[in-house]
Amino acid sequence: MALLQISEPGQSNAPHQHRYAAGIDLGTTNSLVATVRSGEAGCLPDQEGNCLLPSVVHFAADKCLVGSSAQAMQALDPLNTISSIKRLMGRGIDDVDRLGQVLPYEFVNDSQSPVPRIRTRTGEVSAVEVSSEILKQLATRASQSVGDELAGVVITVPAYFDDAQRQATRDAATLAGLNVFRLINEPTAAAVAYGLEKNAQGVYAIYDLGGGTFDISILRLNQGVFEVLASGGDSALGGDDMDHALGEWIIDQAGFTDLDSILLRQILIAARKAKQALSDTDSTEISIQHGRHQWRGRIERAQFEALILPLVKTTLKACRRVLRDANISKSDIAEIVMVGGSTRVPLVQSMVEAFFERQPMCDMDPEQVVAIGAALQADVLAGNKPDSDMLLLDVLPLSLGIETMGGLSEKIIDRNTAIPVARAQQFTTFKDGQTAMSVHVVQGERELISDCRSLARFELRGFPPMVAGAARIRVTFQVDADGLLSVTAEETTSGVVADIVVKPSYGLTDKEIETMLRASMDNAREDMEQRMLKEQQVEAWRVIEAIDSALLADGEDLLSQTEIERIMQYRNKLETSIETASNEALKQMIKALEDVSEFYVAKRMNNSIKQALAGKQIDEVSI
């Protein structure tokens, strides 16, 4: 049918060929990348053999350093060296005040944008841009290691991340030029690693305390299916907070006043070192030397434990709630898995053990297990394991609501609902001739809008004018498998679909992302148009590949000869034009092929649903 095809690396259309994919754990303190090679999942080290890439970015005059070289600059040049940026992902200016002491940077005061920007010597940067530098570094490490371009990546996020934080992570990946197969939740990734590598079965509790986030998830593992029963946590609680509590103690003991950003950074670094030392010893020395600020002291483990006790208690409260949400008692749990560097702290281990009344498991490296799980998932999603029956079924971590009269939140989708999920809500107009309305979507459990997290305001426009109360506006809230929300609206009596303008409360608009993308292209001296054309070509191959494998599988069963010929006509036209057509022309041809084959795609989907239940008639399966 087709001529011999020679494919570009990374866009192979030969299905049997191995496609490299990577799992990325984008952490608050450290980030990792892992991949599956010859069936083995493993974290990829840098040239010095370190798997952990410190999540630190240093903006030098002429370049941008990521990792330990950036970390080395932290105490010398704190204002141009950004760490713990994950804490600002999807966050607004007003959150900065709360996190200000943890993040000692110079923020730009600019009411124009809801997204905080940090002033560095090379310009202002947002959390999305800083994160994209880390992602780029990891992706480069991966593609150099496997000697091929990556077909795609799976990036992990805390289960308790809200929509804005997830969207920011996706934006960072877009900016880094990565094809994101999926965002998956960190505890779910850890469960995948345990499930596949250790052959775990039954109900698992994953306790994940990282540098800046805490998650607790309860999953049922059964023959390749990883079903999250409930998840909870705190997206601003982690090892950083322990460092901070200890840092305050140091400041108090030393009697320091007038702290500058260099001293503050030194104190936090000393606090972290002391915390790590106290995991192995009963007491440790702390020494601070910065100009006239000099202090040397000792801290006992018991003292440190008293400082962090409230933090650990907060995590146990979340554990109790998640057990209740999952409708599970402690005795139903087969194992507790500890994930994240902060679970190395002995008090965390002993309190978790006391709470669950059993010894937690740490068979796998708590810092690598998330990246390994993500890599296993990425390998399956890349199509390297066609026989795999692995399935990750996750939940929405926080309820979604809309603002109603009186500043109250009306829940539309409850927390711990299985995703993907869609809910529709009916609205009407309250003025004659009203053609637009605004829906404010929030996330959180509290009743008052002001206590929830504002996600976005959706402006729905273009309804036909009617008398007040006559319009029937059906707004559908769709949460996809990444946990990301999209909204569509239709006036049902006229069938008019609304135009939607999204105003993210704490996110970047599409336009801002595009501007950043263009700017980064300029730096790389690559033409934007060229890149978009290349992406369109990859998309064209993908569509052709999908059609070919579908037709091969069931084309003759589901379609008439004429129908097949019609689809082939569009398919072949697209194929012969891939190398010559413009970006816009390709887009049109892809759309045309998708249009002409849409009924077939739907037929297949319906058919696969029927086949899933095939051979089971109603009489056989009911009680």
């Binding site: 795609g152 197969f181 999926r182 299916v225 079903e227 409260k317 109790r320 709630r321 209740r324 399956v380 999603l381 890349a382 199509g383 029956d389 399935l391 990750l392 079924l393 609902t417 299985a418 995703i419 993907p420 999920v421 869609a422 809910r423 769709q478 996809d480 498998a481 993908r542 569509v543 590949e545 999908a546 892809i590 998708e594 849409e598 009924f599 795609v601 739907a602 037929k603 989907m605 319906n606 696969s608 649903i609 086949q611 899933a612 239940l613 089971k616 008639q617 109603i618 399966v621 009911s622 009680i623």
Partner: protein
């Protein structure tokens, strides 16, 4: 999206008889089997349109499962596919005995809060509520079997009230355990 076959009702989707009593494990297994074929993870390399369809399909399966798994929603859904709307959330019962019962149950919960043995007290009320819920479910089943849909609707409403009280009790238990 014109082309997806959403014409089946939730029972048909899972190959179940349209009855209140169902095998929860079977439902769970069917849900996972359906998701195994339509989950978006199976369409990562497909066209955008297929991706969108799979999100819709999987959402539908999840919605169906959430509806049938919960006894109150299941009862309301059974009525709905038989042409009876379960009624508005704000609709209150005119059954004075049931009204009195609700008030008494709420008072019992409040008494637990202020009493000495708060948690054991909650456990007792919890058992009582569970018993009441299954009683009402049985009522629903027999009305529904007799096709007395109005009576079934009222039993369904009562189940919903009891479920709400159970939720309040559970909130209190959580609050007590936490303090």
């Amino acid at each position: 999206m014109k082309s997806l076959d959403f014409s089946q009702n939730y029972f048909e989707l899972f190959g179940l008889r349209p009855e209140f009593n169902l095998d929860a494990e079977h439902l769970h297994a069917q849900q996972q089997q359906l998701l195994a074929s339509c989950h978006p993870d199976r369409f990562v390399n497909a066209s955008d349109r297929e991706k969108r369809l799979s999100v819709q399909m999987a959402s539908w399966v999840n919605q169906a499962n959430a509806t049938l798994r919960d006894p109150v929603k299941r009862a309301a859904y059974l009525l709905q596919i038989n042409g009876v709307e379960a009624g508005d959330e704000s609709e209150t019962t005119s059954d004075t005995d049931f009204l009195m019962e609700q008030i008494e149950l709420r008072e019992e919960i409040e008494a637990c809060r202020s009493g000495d043995d708060a948690l054991p007290c909650c456990d007792q009320v919890s058992l009582k509520l569970e018993h009441r819920a299954s009683q009402l479910a049985q009522e629903f089943v027999s009305h529904f079997a007799a096709m007395d849909l109005e009576a079934a609707r009222i039993s369904g409403r009562k189940m919903q009230f009891i479920q709400r009280i159970q939720q309040q009790l559970s909130d209190l238990q959580f609050e007590l355990e936490d303090s």
